[in-house]
Symmetry: D2
């Protein structure tokens, strides 16, 4: 897998991992919509769920050895309380020391927001970026977009 794929992130069938989140009353804005900040928290839960589900075999440390460096979100439709959302996550690029994820948030099957994420692996001690290990590359490949 070379280069960053540009899949249709509004298509539920592309995702490798799913998380579910309930909407809270405190997520609501004065305009009665779910605040963008809450939507960003749903994306985060999708990413953490992806790590917990797929990478936990690599040990606890793997969970603290990543940094989110770039996050691009498109807000497509308003979201309301009460309810829940499904958050899909898929690997779209595996680089030397970083990888990219695509994400989508769905309410009753309708896409309300999509995100592109760049995550860098780093050494928690030196704080420098480090090569993705072969074990991690295998896991990422198994969670990648299928073409």
């Amino acid at each position: 897998m070379t280069g960053d794929l540009s899949p249709d992130l509004t298509n539920m069938s592309i995702y490798a991992n799913w998380a579910k989140c309930t909407i809270r009353y405190s997520d609501l804005d004065p305009n009665g919509h779910v605040n963008n900040g809450a939507i960003n928290e749903f994306f985060e839960d999708g990413r953490v769920g992806f790590r917990n589900d797929r990478m936990i075999s690599l040990g606890d440390e793997i969970l603290t050895g990543f940094a989110l460096v770039k996050f691009t979100v498109e807000y497509l439709a308003p979201l309301y309380f009460p309810g829940s959302v499904d958050v899909g996550t898929v690997v779209t690029r595996i680089g030397g020391s970083s990888f990219s994820l695509g994400q989508g948030i769905f309410s009753d099957g309708a896409c309300v927001a999509t995100a592109k994420v760049i995550t860098v692996s780093f050494d928690p001690k030196s704080k420098h970026s480090q090569k993705l290990t072969p074990e991690l590359r295998t896991i990422l490949a198994s969670s990648s977009l299928k073409l």
Copy 2:
């Protein structure tokens, strides 16, 4: 129902209404526990769910004509991510212009926090407290602790 009942709020069988909330990664404290603020949001979702489930027949305005004036919470056990909680809510007192609720948060059946809440009915225009209407008293009675 006169006086404020003091039920055992850690007993799941006393509750009249239930809401379910998922825990978010962003709810976590530096110590790895769910922050008390998130627990308070779960209690809020229990109360809003109670209003939506039980009082919606009274019209939308009923939802804005209440003010939470006193909230007492006891934190009994730490809570962790990932997971979800069940929030139980029951009416424990029906007064002239106010009522009281008891609430409990449960994780896999274990109580992690309880709360007592006093809510006052007020006129959204005048901002003054007002008598609970007969319709509202009937609803509250049907959601009250059974002894």
Copy 3:
């Protein structure tokens, strides 16, 4: 200092320590008021500021060796965005293994909420409550309500 004092928590002059917090747009409810959850976060920042300001000399561990076990808040007036609040904190009781705090949140000098807090000291390893140390008792006494 024996027994729990019941000072007028709406009186700014009783407080021993102060923190300042800015209100965020995301704190707003659908009704345009600051959500109670945000107000509870301001109280938390008052308590953490109190520990950082007064107890840091006892070492970092002191900050993780406390648990909030009971929190009682009274919401007195609505709060709006934008703006900031001042959070006052004072010790109202020093017990064997626990102590109590009184807190108040003020917007331009007007009290919008008050809280009573019970905090227990515990051993982070055994998870059991433990006696307040003499050093801690001295600090708490110096931050206590003056009568």
Copy 4:
């Protein structure tokens, strides 16, 4: 001003408007850093402050007639509690029915995150996008990047 300018968003001198936010204890992650979600809330407060400071003359409705459609953030450095941040905002593009903003978050003068934002003007009734009015274009131009 045509096309989207690509200024150095880590340069404090480019910004037209500033907001200040305090960091909260509840913003902290299990790793002891300020959570990305809190950083996104600071960006939001920068945008709302920009609207309140610059556009309020256009009437209250102007504040509800915008939708954030795309948000791209780069996280450059960890941020810690306690403290506060300064959020700079500047107009980088004025289009037909949309405009773009650049933003930066600074802690003691050091940039910890930057963001690019696309906002669309829409008719709150029809929910369709609408042309930026001449009055709004004048305001945006006066808040634009100076080259």
